[in-house]
């Protein structure tokens, strides 16, 4: 209760210390910190490379990912798969398809899984979070109880639950399954932010100005609540990719034979891992590097926009 005066003063001092008299915006000052963060740069480079790959990768693929071009060199009974050879950089997979082409095409699928699952989860979370945060009261209570129930189920179980609902497991079902698990996370985060915004002075000021409630929510509260949500999204892309892989591992992943996804490739390679480690190794490495990239990016962003870490 001790004077808002003190708090305001501290903020001012804080802004003085940090922003050299001239305040800078959240993201601008975050950028100042990020510029010198090697972790951020590593993450950024990985992600850029990955996104580029996802865009052009499928065009670079020397073969169609579904063609069993090397089936003649494949034998399950002798546990033989086609070795690397001219035109087939990494050899074939258990079905005699070109592993390298599948990896290239898989990059796009993997990016799709990560990004779409995140977007979907984000949208769901936004809706719930905005509902709870904008209305408060019983709406908040109801929404948050739902979120509590969702959160009390470990995320992978939720994903499994959703995945089994789909009778035809494919990329879409994986995306939806993973997305659903992210909804409560986003909803929580956003609701917290929205509630904080609700009590903030500038929202009060808008109310005092007679701005209509809808405009207050969408012009003031939502935009100002989004920063941590954006950061979280970066991290969620990484977990989505990993979760999709975990679903594949449990046999619940995409079964689409024509559009390979790295997690799916890793899942399929499980039982050959000791005789043909390459089958699992390449998709695994790709997943790890990309997940690491997003995590690095997300964590360094998180640190950069966190006012607490500004000291």
């Amino acid at each position: 209760m001790v004077t808002t005066y003190r708090r305001a003063r501290e903020q001012r001092i804080d802004s003085l210390v940090n922003d050299e008299d001239k305040g800078t915006s959240l993201w601008a000052s975050a950028w100042e910190r990020l510029k010198y963060s090697p972790l951020f740069w590593i993450g950024a480079v990985i992600i850029t490379a990955f996104v580029l790959l996802a865009i052009i990768g499928p065009f670079l693929a020397p073969h169609s990912p579904g063609d069993q071009l090397l089936i003649g060199q494949t034998s399950r009974s002798r546990n033989e798969i086609a070795p690397a050879q001219p035109g087939f950089l990494l050899g074939g997979d258990t079905q005699g398809r070109d592993l390298f082409s599948r990896l290239l095409v898989g990059s796009r699928q993997t990016l799709l899984v990560g990004v779409l699952a995140t977007l979907l989860g984000l949208t769901g979370g936004l809706i719930l979070g905005i509902l709870a945060g904008a209305f408060g009261g019983w709406v908040d209570t109801v929404v948050m109880r739902i979120v509590d129930v969702m959160l009390s189920i470990p995320s992978l179980l939720l994903a499994i639950s959703i995945a089994v609902l789909f009778t035809n497991p494919n990329l879409t079902s994986v995306i939806i399954a993973v997305a659903v698990t992210q909804i409560p996370v986003f909803a929580r985060l956003l609701r917290g932010q929205m509630l904080a915004q609700r009590g903030s002075d500038h929202v009060l000021a808008a109310r005092a100005l007679g701005v209509k409630p809808g405009a207050i929510v969408f012009r003031h509260m939502v935009p100002n609540s989004l920063s941590p949500v954006i950061v979280q999204s970066t991290l969620v892309i990484a977990t989505s990719i990993i979760d999709a892989a975990a679903l594949s591992f449990l046999g619940l992943g995409s079964q689409d034979v024509d559009s390979p996804e790295w997690g799916q490739m890793l899942g399929e390679a499980q039982d050959r891992i000791d005789s043909h480690p390459g089958l699992a190794f390449w998709p695994a490495i790709c997943i790890i590097v990309v997940a690491l990239g997003f995590t690095l990016l997300g964590e360094s962003l998180r640190e950069a926009i966190d006012p607490k870490s500004r000291r």
Binding site: G66, D67, Q68, I71, G72, T74, S75, R76, S77, R78, N79, T94, Q95, G96, V164, T167, N168, P169, N170, G251, L252, Q255, D256, V257, E268, Q270, D271, R272, I273, D274, S275
Partner: protein, 561 residues
């Protein structure tokens, strides 16, 4: 229902033959010997893929339960190791009347159940009557009875009519058990070798309320007989089921009538993951496991493990649902599909060593086998022209394949689908792919005729053609929906008639004819392959005889070193 197996295991005082400890002599030497794991010579540890349902085989249908039950129990007959042919077990001999309706079994003398009671004709009849007398939940669970014998004693169908049964009764006549049937069937006597037809101790069955199966919500609760006190006459006795450590422990039955078990303790260690089983074997912590991935065979062999390949006793087929897609009603289209599939390439690239392309719906080890049927070689052009003839050049098929499953006839459904999808597309057929979990829509959907084309197969229970094609096509509302075709009822009648022929040679001839017609005129499905499943044991294991019926008996198994 009693279900405190776990607490039972945890409350027993140390040392007093605790269920969790090995009861053999090595128990005294404690840790150092025990920690040797699979290395102890008088203990055989087998990696099981799943937990047994319980230990009363009457109510079971699954291999994991049967595997344990086969060690504990015997039936009137059993299968000669390594074959599907019957040989004497609790009965030393048997004969049937000319009409095939009366079967007389002569019981072996001096055999005792594990509880010390005597195995005699009365006990045999008691068991068969018990099976026939199942009611309520027990009746729904005793599937091998209803599959083979039909109805139960008091069973009524929806119209209130008694459900017909093959079984008429059993009389104990001195040391002879006389079983009467309502009609002749090819299934007899082979079916008596199935674990479900095991002869168990009447005393124990009564004492532990064996028939008291209760349906509860999603599931069944079993009486303590089935969970704690299975009492058979087999070479091993049930000792414990340690759920905390996922192991079932059996110990040698020293009163067994035949050759005593070679190892004092037989442990089934439940390891659901196939890879984990392999690695445990490699690490020496188990002595063997079932159904190694064909891809691992060569590697395992190279590493000194014995991969025992069983004779193939199964069939994989591509089912064509009649009456679903109008195009499939045309025989030409079905023939075209048969020509389109490159079965040979699939078999060589995706199936284990020893797998063969199948021309009919059962392997050559089954009676009434013939390869003198119409053959559909891989021929894309032929397929295309047949399709063109049928006016189906733009055919689109809804192709279903299962996930979350691996079967002996189909180790990796995805690879089957991948291969055949490509083949069909090469023949100009558009493939709409639908994948569903095995028990998560696939079986249900296929049964409900939702697919045009689907993958399925069958592993035989015993050696009769009826067990294969009889199961597939006798009903007309089967999964191929043959009833919608004019020949569906015809095929059904032929099969029924063949099954009832008492004379084996006549019967076999009848089946050969049926196979020819199926291949030439009907094509309700396209047989793909017979693929041999394997069982693998460590290099120091002797005496395991692989069985086409997966009926391995571990009593003969021993370990060196």
């Amino acid at each position: 229902a009693s279900s405190d197996r776990g607490s039972d295991a945890s409350s027993t005082a140390p040392g007093s033959g605790a269920p969790g400890s090995s009861a053999s002599g090595s128990g005294g030497t404690s840790g150092s010997a025990g920690s040797g794991g699979g290395a102890a010579a008088d203990t055989f540890i087998f990696g099981a893929a799943g937990a047994p349902s319980m230990f009363d085989p009457l109510y079971a249908t699954d291999g994991e339960t049967f595997r344990v039950a086969r060690q504990i129990n015997e039936g009137l007959i059993k299968f000669t190791p390594g074959t599907a042919d019957p040989e004497p077990a609790l009965a030393t001999s048997w004969e049937s009347s000319a009409d095939g309706k009366t079967w007389t079994f002569t019981m072996r003398d001096g055999v005792k159940f594990h509880d010390g009671t005597t195995v005699d004709a009365a006990a045999a009849c008691f068991n068969l009557d018990r099976m026939y007398n199942q009611t309520g939940a027990g009746a729904t669970q005793a599937q091998y009875w209803s599959d083979v014998m039909g109805g139960f004693k008091d069973q009524k169908d929806d119209a209130g009519q008694p459900v017909p049964s093959l079984y008429a009764g059993c009389q104990a006549d001195g040391n002879k058990a006389v079983i009467t049937l309502n009609s002749s069937t090819s299934k007899f006597p082979g079916v008596l070798g199935l674990p479900s037809y095991s002869i168990q101790s009447p005393t124990a069955l009564q004492q532990y309320d064996a028939n008291n199966v209760q349906a509860q919500g999603d599931s069944f609760a079993y009486p303590s007989y089935a969970t704690e006190h299975p009492t058979g006459a087999g070479p091993y006795k049930f000792q414990s089921y340690d759920q905390a450590n996922n192991t079932v422990t059996l110990v040698r039955n020293d009163d067994y009538y035949g050759d005593k078990a070679k190892t004092a303790t037989l442990i089934f260690k439940i390891i659901p993951s196939e890879t984990a089983r392999k690695q445990e074997l490699q690490a020496g912590t188990i002595d063997g496991y079932d159904l190694p991935n064909p891809a691992d065979w060569s590697g395992l062999k190279d590493a000194g493990f014995q991969v025992e390949v069983r004779p193939a006793f199964n069939v994989l087929y591509v089912g064509l649902t009649q009456g679903n897609n109008p195009a499939l009603a045309d025989l030409k289209v079905r023939q075209a599909i048969a020509h389109a599939l490159n079965r040979q390439q699939f078999v060589t690239s995706q199936l284990p060593e020893g797998a063969k392309v199948a021309d009919i719906f059962y392997p050559d080890t089954v009676d009434g086998y013939t390869d003198d049927v119409t053959k559909y070689d891989y021929d894309v052009d032929k397929a295309k022209s047949l399709l063109a003839e049928a006016g189906q050049s733009n055919l689109t098929l809804n192709f279903w394949w299962p996930t979350e499953v691996s079967r002996p006839y189909m180790p990796d459904p995805k690879s089957v689908f991948t291969a055949f999808k490509a083949d069909l597309e090469a023949a100009g057929i558009t493939v709409n792919e639908t994948s569903k979990p095995w028990n998560g829509g696939y079986l249900d959907g296929v049964e409900a005729h939702q697919a045009d084309v689907f993958l399925l197969g069958w592993t035989g229970d015993y050696n009769t053609p009826d067990n294969f094609i009889g199961t597939f096509f006798t009903r007309t509302d089967n999964r191929f929906n043959t009833g919608t075709q004019p020949w569906g009822a015809e095929l059904s009648d032929q099969l029924k008639a063949a099954d009832a022929i008492p004379d084996k040679d006549q019967r076999d001839a009848a089946y050969v004819e049926i196979n020819k017609k199926i291949a030439a005129d009907y094509i309700p499905a396209i047989p793909i392959s017979n693929s041999p499943p394997a069982i693998v044991v460590a290099g120091n294991v002797q005496g395991l005889v692989a069985s086409p019926l997966t009926d391995e008996r571990f009593a003969s198994v021993s370990k060196t070193g």
